[in-house]
């Protein structure tokens, strides 16, 4: 309870601000509607309720978004094309595949970079430069290019997730693997430790905090990659497609519902990484 109270307070404040903002942002359009309908001198409470119940509000009220999520998940068959659970699963599967591939690639590259001076000097600047290529621009080309050689479905989207998620892991792991002080490395040398032993007994444990910090960033950005890569193929489904169709049709409630589901997915995934971190910390004898 002591942990939940501050969070609940902040959440409550956000909800209150949100409802107030919804009144402010939706009122010009509601005024237009009411003037057309000849409604004047409405009490403020009625007016506020009207602004929270528009069909295509500028800012939907939280209960509208939650209602839409309920309608699009529980009230629908799982296999329906309008079900957010169906679209969420498509996004989740490419996110997880991309994250696993990206983390493996990132750790492998970081190990090579830390141990080989030539790799460090030649790869590191280009890994950084590779991240500045706007991924959405090449997402259609990647999907089309891989489609032409027979790779379709989850894999091309997972590759884009991988491309986005390997970067924080490389940067974090290079920093983490180099975090042992020179004096600690010297101590390993006085023990006559092999490079292999130095790696497993000093560098790898020292890099753990950085690994989990970058994995948290990595899994979140991997979800972004999955959502963004779905924008290129409207027929494939996924939360990105819901965002895109919502934006084309002005269905703001649909956009927010898809955003909320994506947010919930991200939160669960980051929490899972956090749980793994606590487990590893406990095994390594770290006290909180």
């Amino acid at each position: 309870m002591t942990r939940a109270l501050p969070i609940l307070t902040v959440l409550l404040a956000i909800v209150v601000i949100w409802y107030a903002a919804a009144i402010g942002m939706n009122s010009p359009w509601q005024n237009t509607l009411n003037t057309r309908a000849g409604l004047t001198d409405l009490p403020f409470t009625d007016f506020a309720l009207q602004t929270w119940a528009q069909d295509r509000p500028l800012l939907p009220a939280p209960h509208q978004v939650i209602g839409e999520i309920w309608n699009a998940t529980v009230a629908l068959e799982l296999t329906s094309k309008r079900s957010l659970a169906y679209h969420g699963w498509i996004t989740l599967s490419s996110t997880l595949l991309g994250f696993v591939l990206g983390t493996a690639l990132g750790v492998a590259l970081a190990v090579i970079i830390v141990h080989n001076e030539a790799a460090n000097r030649s790869l590191m600047p280009w890994i950084i430069a590779s991240q500045t290529i706007p991924i959405l621009a090449i997402a259609p080309m990647v999907v089309v290019g891989l489609g032409s050689i027979g790779i379709t479905g989850t894999v091309p989207r997972a590759l884009i997730s991988m491309y986005l998620s390997f970067f924080p892991v490389v940067v974090g792991m290079v920093k983490g693997l180099r975090s042992p002080e020179a004096i600690q490395l010297d101590l390993m040398r006085t023990y006559d430790a092999s490079p292999w032993q130095t790696f497993w007994k000093l560098r790898w444990p020292a890099a753990m905090p950085m690994l989990f910090a970058s994995m948290k960033v990595g899994i979140a950005i991997s979800l972004v990659g999955a959502v963004v890569s779905e924008l290129s193929n409207a027929a494939g489904g996924g939360l990105g497609v819901r965002l895109l169709t919502g934006s084309y049709n002005g269905q703001t409630i649909q956009i927010w519902a898809a955003l909320f589901i994506a947010a919930a997915l991200a939160a669960v995934l980051v929490m899972l990484v956090g749980a793994a971190e606590r487990l590893v910390n406990a095994r390594m004898g770290v006290r909180a």
Binding site: A137, A182, A266
Partner: protein, 366 residues
């Protein structure tokens, strides 16, 4: 000579010999420079008898690249020995970089120029492979244009690219980045004072920084209009939370014993903050600044896909894909990559100056 270098040299020389043998069946005057390069590659096997400096490998790699590029027009379908020569060139470049970095490694600080040569070499090798493969194997330009085509487009459409750069980078990315990072830092310091707020805001900040915030781009376009304001708003939203979370984590990075020391000095809150906790948070803050520098550019470009005036990098890319003007798209991507790398590089330089005490910098590496 290390084991890796030994094998690289052996394979490079051996492949040269095979390629030279394969090339003997073609007319003598065809691709003369390429054959000369392969012959020299075979001669390089003498290094196992007579020592050879690393620069000889560099010269061989450059010679190989020149030979490959000049003989691109000679062959209608490129013969197998042409592709072997490409592999040999790559191996020589690798060997050169490997040997050069070995001679550089012990003396880290006094060879900035030579150290720069290595990534340049790697990038150039990548460009040569790209050029040779796309033109040698006749990859359709719509799928992947050759770098020379992109370069020509970069020069021809310079005014358009500059206007897009100003619209996207100067007007959207920079203000959004500054506002997002500064407010993230300020809120983190404020939140850090109150355990109640920290306990309440931090999980929510973590949650928000994990959100696919690019998704709010259509909403921001609805709220702030088509021009740069909506893109800057997306950038602010994307950069705020990584900064908040990293700074709060960084403020806890100083150890209890260090904070106890400050207390024995009778240091007040602000002295402890300015002299101990903020400097200790430096690596975390710069981590966020670096992550944000790439996020900001991507955010601004992606936001332009949802609605923009008829200028801007994202606009040019999305219309270019539609019109199949792929070389213009790649030129725009090149501009974005250069701008983003320069942005990141400036921040990394500042980090070296500010967090000079951190082991990862003190070792001479960023």
């Amino acid at each position: 000579m290390s084991q890796l270098q030994f094998f690289l040299a052996l394979i490079a020389g051996g492949l040269s010999a095979i390629a030279l043998a394969l090339s003997l069946i073609t007319p003598f005057e065809q691709g003369l420079l390429l054959k000369a390069f392969l012959a020299l590659g075979v001669v390089s096997l003498l290094r196992f008898v007579v020592p050879m400096g690393p620069w000889a490998d560099g010269v061989l790699a450059v010679l190989g690249a020149t030979a490959l590029l000049t003989s691109l027009e000679v062959f209608a379908p490129a013969p197998p020995y042409f592709w072997l020569a490409l592999t040999v060139t790559w191996l020589f470049a690798w060997l050169f970089v490997e040997r050069l970095s070995h001679t550089l490694a012990p003396r880290l600080s006094d060879n900035a120029g030579l150290g720069l040569l290595i990534p340049v070499m790697f990038g150039a090798a990548l460009l040569v492979v790209w050029e040779v493969v796309t033109r040698g194997a006749n990859v359709p330009p719509v799928l992947l244009p050759a770098p020379s085509m992109i370069g020509a487009q970069l020069v021809n459409s310079a005014p358009i690219l500059w206007a897009d750069f100003v619209q996207t980078f100067i007007k959207s990315v920079l203000p959004g980045y500054a506002i997002g990072c500064l407010s993230g830092l300020a809120v983190a310091i404020l939140v850090d004072r109150s355990p109640f707020l920290k306990a309440g805001l931090l999980p929510i900040g973590n949650f928000m920084s994990a959100l696919p915030i690019i998704g709010i781009a259509p909403i921001m376009v609805m709220w702030f209009g088509f021009d740069w304001q909506s893109k800057a708003a997306v950038v602010v939203a994307m950069t705020f939370f990584p900064m908040l979370v990293n700074t709060v984590a960084g403020l806890n990075a100083s150890s209890a014993i260090e904070r106890d020391l400050m207390r024995t000095y009778a240091a007040n809150y602000w002295q402890t903050l300015m002299k101990l906790r903020l400097p200790a948070a430096g690596p975390f803050i710069f981590n966020a600044l670096k992550i944000n520098s790439t996020l900001a550019l991507i955010g601004a470009i992606v936001a332009e896909f949802f609605g923009t005036p008829v200028v801007g990098m994202g606009f040019r890319i999305s219309t270019g894909v539609g019109r199949l003007a792929i070389d213009l798209v790649w030129a725009e991507i090149a501009v974005a990559a250069i701008a983003g790398s320069a942005f990141y590089g400036v921040i990394a330089l500042i980090e070296r100056g500010v967090t000079f005490w951190h082991p990862s910098v003190r070792g001479g590496r960023a």
